[in-house]
Symmetry: D3
Subunit: 330 residues, 6 copies
C-alpha cells in the first residue's frame, strides 16, 4: 500500500438539520472536515496507507475530530495535540436559487498557531508516495506558511510527489496575496489543481474548453508543472450542477465526460475530485482515465452528507464505466 | 423606517417530518404561520417597522406563537390576548405527483371571535405607511369581516396604503360568498393581489399572458385599483414549479422574468410574493422592478421550511440581478 | 368487500436517516415490509378485506411487525406466531449516480423454516377473490417452495384468481434456479407480473415497446396466462425515474402513459404497481385503465417513505385523470 | 375472550420532546389518547376483545388516530366517522418541582357534537361483559351527557357490568356541576373509581387510610355500588411518586401495597390503574389481588411514553409477585 | 415596568443530545446563553423592561443569538453589532458520578475585543432601576474590564442599583487575579452574589450555616455592601442536588428553605438564582422572602433544558408557597 | 504500552429512542457492542495497545461495526472478514419497575461459524500481556468453543495472562451446559470474573459478604485461580442500582466501596467492571485498589449510552478518590 500524506486543518463543521437556515436552527449536525482531511479520508477509503498531518487541540472536541479520521481509516500518528482551539465553520445547505453559506470561525486554531519545529517532517515523509496540501493552509497564518513550505521542501528532498489544490477563498485571503504565496510554492509542485480565471481575464462560470486550454498552456509555459487540472463546474442552481474537468500535461489536453448531479451536500466536492485524480495517477491510469475517475468520484460526494466522500474505488469505477442509472443494488 | 401593519390570524402549523404522510407521523414540526403574519415577518426581515395585529389565546401556546413573531423582529404590541383557542392547521409536504395537503382546524379561534371594539385602530394606524390584509380573514367570521372593514376604513382615513391579497380557499369560503366580501372592501383597496380566473371563464393553470392582461383590464375598468398584481405559477409537480407574475397599473402591463424552483416547502410562497411586491413599492421601485423583486422573494421562500421567508433584501436583489447559480457563498 | 390474500415474508427494514450511508448511521428508521405485505397494505388502503398469511417470530419485534399491518387495516388472523427470528434487511437510499443499496439478512426466518402443515389453506382460501404471491417466497427455502405450491393449488381448487410477481433478485436465487421454480407454478397462475429480459436476449434497461410485446407473446404462446404485465422503468438516476408499463391478454397489447417521478423512496414501487393492477382488475376496469391505474399507484409510492403505499384509490385515480400538478390541496 | 367496551373521546396529544417547555418547542411528539381509549388499549393488551366507541372526524388526522387504536388491537368497528374536528391537548412533561402541564383544546370535537341517535347501542352492547366510561365524557357537552346516559341504560338492560371513573378535571367542569352529573349516572354504576375528597372535607394529598375508608363507607351507604376504588397517589415531585390504592365492597376495605415510581410520563397513569382493576375483576381475582394488580399496572404506565400502557398481564403480574428489581431481562 | 440592564457575553452553547458524551455526538443542541444574558431572560420573563448590553458579531450566527433574546422579550437595542466572532462553549450533561463538562472557546469574541467608547452608557442607564453584571465579564479581557468599570461608574452616577455575581471560573481567571478585579469594582456594588470560600479557609462543599455567616460578616465589615448573598448547593451527584442560600444585610442573616432537585440541565442555575433574588428585591420583598424566591427560581431552572429559566413569577411563587408536589396542572 | 487482546462477537445493537418500548419504536439507535468488544474499547480508552479478535461479515454493516472499534482506538488488524451475517440484538431501556429487555438474534453470525484454523493465534498472542474472553463466546457454537479453547491454550503457551468472565445468560446456554464448558477452560484461567450463586445454593440478589466469601473459597479450593472476582449489584429498580464487588486471591478477601448509580444505560456495566479490574491489575495496583477502580469504572458506564465505557483512567480515579459530587467541570 502506497503511503499518502496530507497536511492541513481539521475543523468542526456545524450544519443546520435539513434545509433549515441558521436563524431557524436549534440543532446542528456536527461533523468534522477540511480540504486536506477530506482528501485523506477519500484516499484511505480508496485503500492507500493515508496519514493526516496537523495540530489539534487537546480536549474532547479534538478527540472527537481525531476519532472520526481514525474511524475512516486515516492514520493519526502524525497529529500533534495542543494549542488553544478547534477551528470551526458553520455551513448552511442551499437549495434552488438559495446559495449554500459558509461562515468561518477558524482564527487562532491550533494549527494556525503551530510552529514548524513541532513537526518531524524528515520522519513523516519517509517512504511516502504522495503529499497533498491546499492553498488554504498557508493562507491561514505566517506559521502555516512556514509549515507548508518546509513540508514541500522535505517532500522534494525525499522525492515525494506533491499535489497542490489552490482552493482559493476570498474570505480567507485576498487574491493578490494568494498569488504571492502560490508562487513561492511553485517550484515544489508536481500537480496543480485549480486555476484562477480572474488572473486570465475570464469570468468564473464562463470558462469554455478553449479558454481553459489557453489558461493551462499559459500556466504550463510559466511554471512547467507535471499536470495542471481543473474542474469545470456548471452551477445551474444550488440543487443541480453539472460536473466535468480538464487536464493538461504539457502535451495533451483532455476534457472529461460531463455528469449531472442533484446535490445533497456540496461541500467537499472539490476535495473528492482531488482525491479521485490523485488515486488514478498513483494507480498509473492515463490522463483521460484519471480525469473521468476524478469527476465520477466528485459526483458521488455530492450525494453524501458531510465533507467526506465515503465511497470505494469500485463504486467510482462503476460510474466511469457508464453505470449511472442508480438502480437498486439488491 | 416605514411603519407597516398586517392584520390576520396566526396559527399553529403542524407538519410531519421529512416527506411523511399524516398517517405515518409520530412527530410534528411545530411552527406558526398564517398569510398576514407571514407577510409581517418578511417585511420585518426587509427592515420595516412591522406590526402584526391580531387576537391570540392567553396560554403558553399563544405565548410561543407571539414569541416567534418577536424573534423575527415583528412588533407584537398590537396583539390582544384572550379568547378560547389557537387556530391550527395540519400540513403535509408533497412530492412529485403527490400534492401537499392542508387540513384546517381554525374555527372559533381567538381572532375569529374577537370583536371590532377590542382594537384601537385609530392609534394603531397612526403614522403607518402600509396596511396589508388578505381575503381569508374576513371569510373566517362575521366578526372578522367587521374588523377587516373597520381597519380598512381607518386606513383610508389616515391615508395609509391598503394592499389586499384575495388568497381564496374553497375550504374556507365559497366563491360566490367570497366575491361579495371582496366587493365590500374594494373601495378601500389600493393594491389588489390575486385574481379569480373562474370569474373570467379561464381555467386555473391555463392562464396566459394575454388572458391575464385581459382579466386585469376588466378588473381595472370596474374597480380602478392602483395596482393589480397576480402570480403566474406553473405547477409542474409538487416538487418543481416555475414562478412568474404580472402587474398592471391601468396603463402598463408587465410580466416578470420566470424562475424555476425546486420546492422545499411550498406554503407561504404567495405571502413572500406579496411582501416582496409591497417592499418594492414602498421603496419606490418601478412596476417592472417590483414584479421581479416579488417573484425573486417568492422563489427563495420555496427553499425554506416553515411559513416564513427568512431572507434579506440583499439576497432577493441578488436573484433579481441574475445571480441564480447557487454557488457556495464561502 | 372482496377478500384478498397475500402470502410472504414480513421483514424489519432498517434505513439510515436522510441520505446517510450505512457507515455514517447512528440511527436507523425502523419500518416493516416485504413484497407481499406491501401488496396487502395497498389492497387494504384500497378498501379490500385483505389478509396477510405468514409465520412471524413470537417476540416483541414480531409484535411490532404485526401491529403495523393491523394499523393499516390488514387482517392478521392468518399469521402464525413462532420460529426463530425476524428476517431483516438494511436499505440505503440512493441519490443521483449513487444507487440505493439493499443488504438482506433474512435466512432462517420464521417463514423460511415454517412447514406447509402449519397453514390451514382450506379455511384461509374460503370466499377469497384473489391470491397474490411473489417469486421471492418460494426462493427462500424448500419449505417456502412447498408452502407456495400448496397455496396455489388450494387457490385453484377454490377458484381464487392467482397473481404472481416474479420479483427476481440475483442475491436471493440464481436465474436458472428461479426459472425452474416459476415453471412449477405456471399452471396455477392467472396473472403474471414481471418478465426476465435476460431469457429473451434483451438487456434490462433496453426494453422497447416492440421487444416487450415480443416477449409477452412468447410467454403467452408457451404458458397462456390470462394477463402478462410488466413495468417499463427508465432509471435516469437514483433520484429520477420515469414509469410506464405494458399489459397483454393474448389479444391486445397496451402500453401505459409514462409518468416522471422524483424519488423519495424507491423500495416498494413494484409492489405498489402490482396492487394497483390487481385492484383495477378486481374492479372490472379495462386493460388500458388497469395499466394506467397501476402506474399511477406506483408513482405515488415513490414519494412515500417506507415500503407501504399509503394512498387511497381516489388519489390514484386523480393522477390517472391527469391531475399531476401537485398543487396544494387546501 | 370477553367483550369489553369503552366510550369516550380520542384526542391528539402534542407533547414537546424531552423535558422542553412549550415555549421552547419546535417539534411535538404526536400520539393519541384519552381516558377511555387508554383503558381500551390496556384491556386489548391484556387480551380482551375490546371495542372503543366514539365519533371521530373523517380526515387523515382522524385516520391516524383510529389506526393507532387498531395497531394496538382495539376493535374500531363502533367508531362513527364525521363531525368537525379532532379534539386535542398539549401536554408538557414536568420534572422535580415543575408540574406537568395540560392545555385542552377539545371543544366542538366530533364526539362533543355527536348525537345519541348516531349510536346503535343495542347492537354494540350485545354479548359485552364490561362497559367503561369516565366522568369527563358527559362533562363535555349536553350531547355527550345524553350519549353516556343512554349507553349506561343499555348496559343495564343487557346486564353488562358498568365501571365509571370520575376523572374530574376542574378545567373541564365545575365541581358542583360534576356532582350533579355523577348523581344521574349512579343508578347504573357497578364499579366506582375515584373519589372527591373535597366533598368530604379532606384535602387532596392528605388522604389517609382512615379518611379514605370513611369516605368509602359514606359513598357506599348512600349509593351502594358494588365496588368503590380509589388510588392514593403521593406526589413527592413531578419526577417521583408513590402509588397505592384502596378498595371497598361494602364489607371489606383493603389497601394495596405501595410502589415507588420514577416518572417517565405521568399521563394515563389513572387509566392504567382502571384497566388493571377491571381486568382483575373480570378474571375473578379477589379484592386484594385486584387492587395490587391495578397499582402494579399503573406503576408500569408511569415508565412509558404516551398515554397507553403497552404491557402484558404477565409483566404486571411479575410486579405483583414482588419482582421489582428491574434486572435486565436477557 | 422597571428598567433592568445586564451587560455581558452571549455565547453559542453546543450540547450533545441526551446524555451523550462529546465523543459520541453527531448532533449538538444549539442554544445561546451566558450568565448576564440568562439573568436578562429571567427578568424579562418576570415582567421587567429588560435590556441586554453587549457586542455581537454581525453574521447570521449573531442574528440567531439576538433573535433568541428578543424571542423571550429581552430588548436588544443596546447590542452593538460587529467584531470577529461569536464566543461559544461546549457543554456535556452529566449524570450520577459523571460530572457535567464545559469547554470554553470564547477568546477574541466580539465583546472581548469591544472598546468602552462603543457604548453610550449615559443613554443606556437613563431611567434604569437595576444593573447586573458578573465577574466573568471583566475577566475576559482588559477591554471588558474597562467596559465593566465604566458601566458601574455610570450606574452609580445615575443612582442605579448594582448587582455583581462573582461567578468565578478557574478556567477563565486565576483566583488571585480575580480578587484584584473584584476589589476594583467593590465601591460600586450594592448587592454581592457569591463568595470565595477559598479566601476564608473553607473548602467548597463544606460550607455550613455558621461558616457562611462568618464569611458574610467578614466581607461586610471590609466592604459594607447592602446585601451579601450566596447559594449553598449540596451536590449529591450530577443528577441530584439540594439547593438553599443565605443572605445578610449587615444586620440579619437568613438561610432559605432547602429544595431537592433532580437535574435536567444544571447550567444557568446560578443565574436563575440571581434573577430570582433581584426580582424579589425590586419588588420590595423582605430578605427572607427574597432568598426563598431566589432558591425556588433556581430550582425550576434545573428542570429546564438550555441556559434560560423560562418560568413566570407565579410559578416560582407557587413553590415558595410550598406547592412542590409536581401534580399535573390540568 | 502493554498489548491487550480480547476475542468475541461484535453485534449490532438496536435500541428504541428514549424510553420507548419496542412496539412504539419507529427509529432505533444503532450502536455496536458485545462483551469482549466492550472490554476492548475500555482498555483502549485506558491507554493500552488493544486488539479485538473476531470474524465479521464483509459488507457495509460489518464495515460500520469495525469502524466504530477503530474510532475508539481499538486495533482491528486481527479481525477476519467474511461469513454470512452480523449478529444483532434488540435492547429496550427499562425504568423503575420495568426491566430492560434484550432480544438476541445472533445465530449463524460470522464468528459463530468461523473455524479455528482461520485465526493465526501464534502471531496474534505474540508479546501480549493480557487476554480476555467471556463465557458467552464458547456457548455460541462448537466452532466458537474450539476457537476459545485454542486461544486460551496459545495464551498459556506464550505466558499471557488470561481473564475469563462467566457472563452467563440463560437465553444463550443452559446452566448445566455452561458449567461443563467453564470446566474445560479452567486450567487456562488466571482471573475468574463472575460466580454462579445457583451452584452454591444462594439466590441471586441475596448475596451477602459472607456468602460471597464462602463461594470464593469453594471455587478457589477447587480450581485455584489467581483471582476470583465478582460484582455485587443491588438492583433497586431499573433506574437505580448500587454497585460494589469483591475479590479474593486465595488469601485475602476484599469488598469494595459501594456506589449508588442512576442508570442511563445498564448494558455494558459488567464489561466496564472487567476492564477496570484488568487495567488496575496490569498497572500493578493492590487487590483493594483494583476492586475499587473496577467499581468506579462500572459506575461511569451506567451514565453513558451504548455499550462502551468512554472514559479515561483519570475520570475513574477521580471517583475512586471520592470525588462523586458531580459538580460542573468548568
Amino acid at each position: 500500500m502506497k503511503k499518502v500524506l496530507t497536511l492541513g486543518e481539521l475543523m468542526l463543521r456545524l450544519t443546520p438539520m435539513h434545509y433549515n437556515r441558521f436563524v431557524q436552527s436549534h440543532r446542528f449536525r456536527a461533523v468534522y472536515g477540511g480540504g486536506e482531511a477530506n482528501v485523506a479520508i477519500s484516499m484511505a477509503k480508496f485503500g492507500y496507507d493515508t496519514y493526516f498531518i496537523s495540530k489539534i487541540v487537546d480536549n474532547e472536541i479534538g478527540d472527537a475530530a481525531i476519532n472520526q479520521l481514525r474511524e475512516f481509516n486515516v492514520n493519526t500518528d502524525y497529529i500533534i495535540r495542543g494549542g488553544e482551539r478547534m477551528g470551526l465553520y458553520y455551513s448552511e445547505i442551499g437549495s434552488s436559487q438559495r446559495a449554500p453559506k459558509v461562515i468561518y470561525d477558524r482564527k487562532n486554531s491550533s494549527i494556525a498557531r503551530a510552529k514548524v519545529e513541532e513537526f518531524d517532517f524528515k520522519k513523516i515523509f519517509k517512504d511516502a508516495s504522495l503529499f497533498f496540501v491546499s492553498g488554504i493552509l498557508p493562507a491561514l497564518s505566517k506559521n502555516c506558511y512556514d509549515i507548508t513550505l518546509e513540508a514541500m521542501k522535505e517532500a522534494k528532498r525525499q522525492k515525494v510527489m506533491v499535489a497542490f489544490d489552490l482552493n482559493w477563498r476570498s474570505s480567507v485571503i485576498k487574491l493578490e496575496d494568494a498569488v504571492k504565496i502560490y508562487n513561492d510554492f511553485s517550484p515544489y509542485i508536481d500537480i496543480l489543481i485549480g486555476i484562477l480565471p480572474q488572473l486570465h481575464d475570464v469570468k468564473e462560470g464562463e470558462l469554455t474548453r478553449d479558454s481553459v486550454e489557453k489558461i493551462f498552456r499559459e500556466i504550463y509555459n510559466y511554471y512547467g508543472f507535471k499536470y495542471i487540472v481543473s474542474t469545470l463546474r456548471q452551477s445551474l442552481s444550488a440543487s443541480d450542477n453539472t460536473l466535468s474537468a480538464a487536464i493538461f500535461d504539457g502535451k495533451n489536453f483532455y476534457e472529461s465526460k460531463k455528469l449531472k448531479v442533484r446535490i445533497v451536500d456540496r461541500v467537499g466536492g472539490g476535495d473528492a475530485f482531488a482525491a479521485g485524480l490523485l488515486s488514478a495517477i498513483l494507480d498509473g491510469k492515463s490522463q483521460e482515465e484519471a480525469i473521468d475517475f476524478a469527476v465520477a468520484a466528485s459526483s458521488l460526494k455530492h450525494t453524501i452528507k458531510g465533507d467526506f466522500n465515503l465511497v470505494s474505488k469500485e463504486k467510482v469505477q462503476r460510474i466511469v464505466n457508464g453505470n449511472v442509472s442508480g438502480r437498486i443494488d439488491w
